[in-house]
Symmetry: C3
Subunit: 270 residues, 3 copies
């Protein structure tokens, strides 16, 4: 399947660049600049808008909607729900990034309400966040993952979550696992230094949303994470630490070409 995947991924990137979908983010205040730059660098268009008064007007023009719970308030959860319902009504894919979901009742209840009320095209999180969402547990230290689970365990978790939540579930880490109820992909692209830069998870979600704006499913999600991980690898080669890694990451997202799909290391596991 590798050959097929690569040719599919090359076309998907080409299509993304040609269409430049608008990605509406109700974003994390820590990383909204980073997500906007990731989307712009990749070749799509970001818009960040969070006021309840305007979110449906913005969402209805978007190709995808990202909901990020990194700096939540009761008002931001209301806005996420309103924007998400609008997106669901119009068939616009909604992607959830449940940042730090287990950290407080506000986040737990807010995310629960999003899961209950919205149809999600994908959820992307680190291991601890996805464990919390799927199994109600997880070792959360701030917004960074500390949990441990081997690849087999992660695959089982992703599949369980994909089935029970009826969505595409992406667990990112040293290897990314992407599962729907029918398919599972492993993505090996990436670099450990990305963990020392805030927002690299949020940016992965934004890149994922840009691909899902064109086509939904686990395959586009895996392609998005592979291209993003590849940009991260290349950035890490040029970097002297987390600061120059972040700068280079935007450069490499911009410089990704369809032919780079041959460096995407994606494997199907069914």
């Amino acid at each position: 399947m590798t050959l097929d995947f690569r040719s599919w991924a090359a076309s998907a990137l080409e299509d993304l660049r040609a269409k430049g979908p608008l990605i509406h983010h109700i974003a994390n205040l820590v990383t909204l600049n980073d997500s906007a730059n990731a989307v712009l660098s990749l070749g799509a268009l970001p818009i960040m808008a969070h006021a309840l008064e305007e979110v449906p007007h913005i969402t209805k023009k978007a190709g995808a909607l990202v909901l990020n719970t990194g700096t939540p308030t009761p008002e931001s959860f209301q806005a996420m729900l309103a924007a998400g319902r609008c997106a669901n009504d119009l068939g616009i894919p909604v992607i959830l990034d449940p940042v730090g979901v287990g950290s407080s009742p506000l986040r737990r209840e807010g995310v629960s309400s999003l899961l209950e009320n919205l149809t999600l095209a994908a959820i992307r999180g680190n291991l601890a966040e996805i464990q919390f969402i799927v199994q109600g547990k997880g070792d959360l230290a701030g917004v960074e993952a500390k949990g441990d689970l081997d690849l087999t365990g992660r695959i089982a978790l992703a599949r369980e979550g994909a089935r029970s939540l009826r969505t595409v579930l992406a667990i990112t880490g040293s290897w990314d696992v992407v599962a729907s109820s029918k398919q599972t992909f492993i993505v090996q692209n990436g670099h450990p230094l990305l963990r020392r830069v805030t927002g690299t998870g949020c940016m992965a979600t934004s890149v994922l949303a840009a691909f899902l704006a064109l086509e939904q499913g686990p395959l586009p999600a895996a392609a998005a994470l592979a291209f993003y991980g590849l940009a991260g690898e290349r950035a890490a080669q040029r970097a002297k630490g987390p600061g120059s890694l972040k700068t280079a990451l935007f450069d490499e997202l911009y410089n990704l070409a369809p032919k780079d799909a041959k460096e995407c290391r994606v494997e199907r596991r069914d």
Copy 2:
């Protein structure tokens, strides 16, 4: 006029560096860090403050006030109005950046209210934003411009807006057009890669405000955009993509010297 302009612009930059005016921003949450760094790099002082309870106290100490509608709420528009009225009472120039004005009723009505109630020293936007403000129309895709209009059309639009809104109107793009009711300038400095970095429009507005803090009118506005565009060109020469462009942009704003005015490509069109 070119020779005169360059000698005037050189003095203006020298003056800005000597006086370091304080620029109060009621800013966009996506780009407030970038605007603060642009102002600091250039040689002025930024302050970002948005709470209704404190904005007049901040504005009254400032050399200029920037109002940016990029992530608006009803409360932020209230604060903009209060700060703007304070600035008008004290003769402090107010510069409006109507980010994404056509995207939602909240932005449309908020910007309308600012236009009706405040005297503005300048408005800077992309083509779509200015078309919306001046003519009530425009093709808005998120906060990025998609509209198209040739240079003659942009000049006519800027002049029409400057007259009807009684302000200096700056349309930035591949060429910038700056008009008052009496004068028009074309600024050719800049680089297309700037469009792949979020906040490059907001930073242009911040730089413009720093120059208008010292002297109002279309000439200082054109000088500001020329110096900013020149810094962008130099940054682009060093850059490998949008990430390194942004990093280099702050360096080049800092490294601008009065003698660089000879590289400002500004033309008067009356």
Copy 3:
């Protein structure tokens, strides 16, 4: 004492890297991304959370709490008070960064209320901010310091503040002064170009908090500022201006090693 200090500082950095304490920030919207990256680069874990509904839940898991008044609202002061009380109840150190304290009644009264109601492990500010807090005066131009006072004057001010406010007081500038009621340290590391990057003060506070999470007192505070200043010096050597300085600063925080303590220039003055 220099030899002792260096060996102590080397161990402290090693300990910080081994334990990776979680630092909860109720942060400034301008610099929250920078503070998060500084903490991550150094080897600790950041979490930014500001909603009154969740701050106590976040604080109770943290190793230290940072309160930054850079973009205040009445709600953010309420959240700071609630989080601070929770931290005080649990013995978690609270570090205050009173950004722009003299700029408005909102900041003045908000900071007063924090000083009256909370036990603070440390306060870090520029000269003008500390003068305002300790003596009720200071020449404040935005959030940047303009005041002037020689080293002897700064030492006297820091000691007076440390005694009257019963905390560790850190005045940062070309030389940093750190005082408790019993000890005073001078830190000579640092670089003047840091002043041309927004958030370098906020990041100093975040680094300080990461050290105080492990051990309180003026010695850890001085070690934190010395390591941070050293990273700044090294970054400045590589930089072509404020943009590349900021990028390099995160790299150098990441690359700091315990053995670098021998380049910490800290002096005790009793």
